[in-house]
């Protein structure tokens, strides 16, 4: 009897502690950081012959960090550190598509990160010679961010050669290189990515970007209507509301405000970007 009472008390205390500690943990939690990894050679030695597993564990670490930072804490992730980690993981296992895929999902919206991201993807392309995803990603980065359509076309051609059955390339090629509308091409690209992405957090981020591009396209179409109706270009987005072409200016999902540049393009104060910090040192150096 005595034993049963003691056992019940300990169990009750255990349940209480298990329910209480997350509250305190959350209250006193230190800031979430993605720590700098040791050099690749050290990581390889530490893996004791399991460098592919080490690469996947590094990827998991960055994935969980990103998930907690962005999805749970709703903070801006340290994308520079994230790139460093994925770069080292792909040095250990250059075939690991998880790393390339995640890098594209997290970094391709940040213009200063693009040269680094492209270098990472090109490393992958050297090894995964059969994988159409990598040239597809490179093509998008060259087209949308670096504004190099010729280079983008080369990679898109390679992607379509590696996956000739996909109708996606025809749609994208048409949008990118013939119809000449970057926003529509971006929308087509994002829709294809969303369709193919299983990770809920990445899907959410892609959907956010798609929503922003759709808002931009909505404004661009209204601007075209304005021009054909009044035979002159609108001076501001407010003109579209005044002319009754749109009810209101849609909100920017990134928290910025849409505005019209002097050359008549729709831009946003948020620049649709977050999280990349410039650093003096070259991240490729171990």
């Amino acid at each position: 009897m005595k034993q049963a009472i003691t056992g019940t008390i300990i169990l009750a205390l255990f349940i209480a502690v298990v329910n209480l500690y997350p509250r305190y943990q959350k209250k006193y939690e230190p800031p979430l950081r993605l720590h700098r990894l040791p050099p690749t050679l050290a990581l390889e030695i530490m893996s004791v012959g399991n460098k592919e597993l080490m690469a996947e564990i590094i990827f998991y670490n960055t994935e969980f960090y990103f998930g907690e930072k962005v999805g749970w804490r709703e903070e801006t992730p340290e994308l520079r550190r994230l790139y460093d980690a994925l770069n080292k993981a792909t040095d250990l296992d250059p075939y690991n598509i998880d790393c390339y895929y995640f890098a594209q999902g997290a970094l391709s919206w940040v213009k200063p990160a693009i040269p680094y991201l492209n270098r990472l993807l090109e490393k992958g392309l050297k090894h995964r010679t059969w994988d159409w995803y990598l040239p597809f990603f490179l093509s998008a980065n060259y087209y949308f961010q670096l504004k190099q359509p010729v280079k983008a076309a080369e990679y898109l051609k390679l992607a379509s050669r590696l996956n000739p059955r996909s109708s996606l390339f025809a749609t994208l090629t048409a949008r990118m290189f013939y119809e000449g509308n970057e926003t529509e091409a971006g929308i087509a690209y994002l829709r294809s990515l969303i369709k193919d992405t299983q990770n809920p957090l990445l899907r959410k981020r892609l959907a956010k970007r798609l929503k922003a591009l759709e808002a931009i396209r909505y404004l661009e179409l209204a601007l075209e209507k304005y021009e054909s109706k009044y035979k002159q270009k609108a001076k501001s987005l407010g003109d579209l509301v005044k002319a009754g072409l749109i009810e209101s200016i849609p909100p920017d999902p990134y928290g910025g405000k849409f505005y019209l540049t002097k050359d008549g393009k729709v831009y946003t104060t948020s620049k649709l970007a977050e999280g990349w910090q410039k650093k003096k040192n070259d991240p490729d150096k171990n």
Partner: protein, 274 residues
Amino acid sequence: MGKADNIRSFLSITLATVKGGVRDRLYQGIGLVGIFFIFSTGIFSSFSMRQPVEVAINYSLSIIQVISALVTLFLGLNLISSEIDSKASHPVLTQPISRSLYLLGKFGGFTALIGITIVLLGFFSYLGVWLTMAGMKNPPDISWMNFMISIAGSFEACLVLGAVIILFTSFATSAILPFLLSCAVYAIGQSTQSVIRYIESGMAKGQLSPGLKAIVKGAYYIFPNFALFDFKVQAIYSLRTPAKLFGVSAVYALIYVSLALFMATVVFSKRDLP
């Protein structure tokens, strides 16, 4: 003693060693690990974004490598050291058989035990990967042949490590020294190739003195190069495994084992036993 007697003695020592391993409940332990394997493979690979099957194979083969190395270490250390400590080897060694035959018989038993261990682990890991694939709509093509080659690579590595442990136990008076030396050899043997490649790539220019470079190069040739037995990347991504490379690794293992066992028999034959 005739040739037939030698073979009979060798086989009886081998069989006794295998029985000893079974008596020590080695395979019950492996069975438990196997159950862990089957369930954990799917959980571990579920966090992958684009390559869950590849991650399942990666995880399985890495776990096989780690567990088989640990089993080799503990099995190898118990082969001779503990028997000498407990004087269990005395009835055998007082028989009209040579010490080298005793050592080779022990290694034969060890080979059988580690072989069965790896086959069992391979079977459990196959189940784990298969279960991961079973839940998928379009699982990727897997090269099971590469999977088996990679497991065979782990077996080769264990044989080399086992021979090195026997060499150390042949002269050591306690189990601690061979344990520490074997761990060191395993760690060094796993990394010499990476270090040599790093040096040769020119990235270490100016960082290392010529003397240190010579030491690293020496270590590369003296210590077993375990990277040669690593065929995981080919198995994970279904890349072509050149038959020649596997052949070279098998020949290397055979020669290294022969050399280590030869040295062990020489030392053990001259050793004064308590």
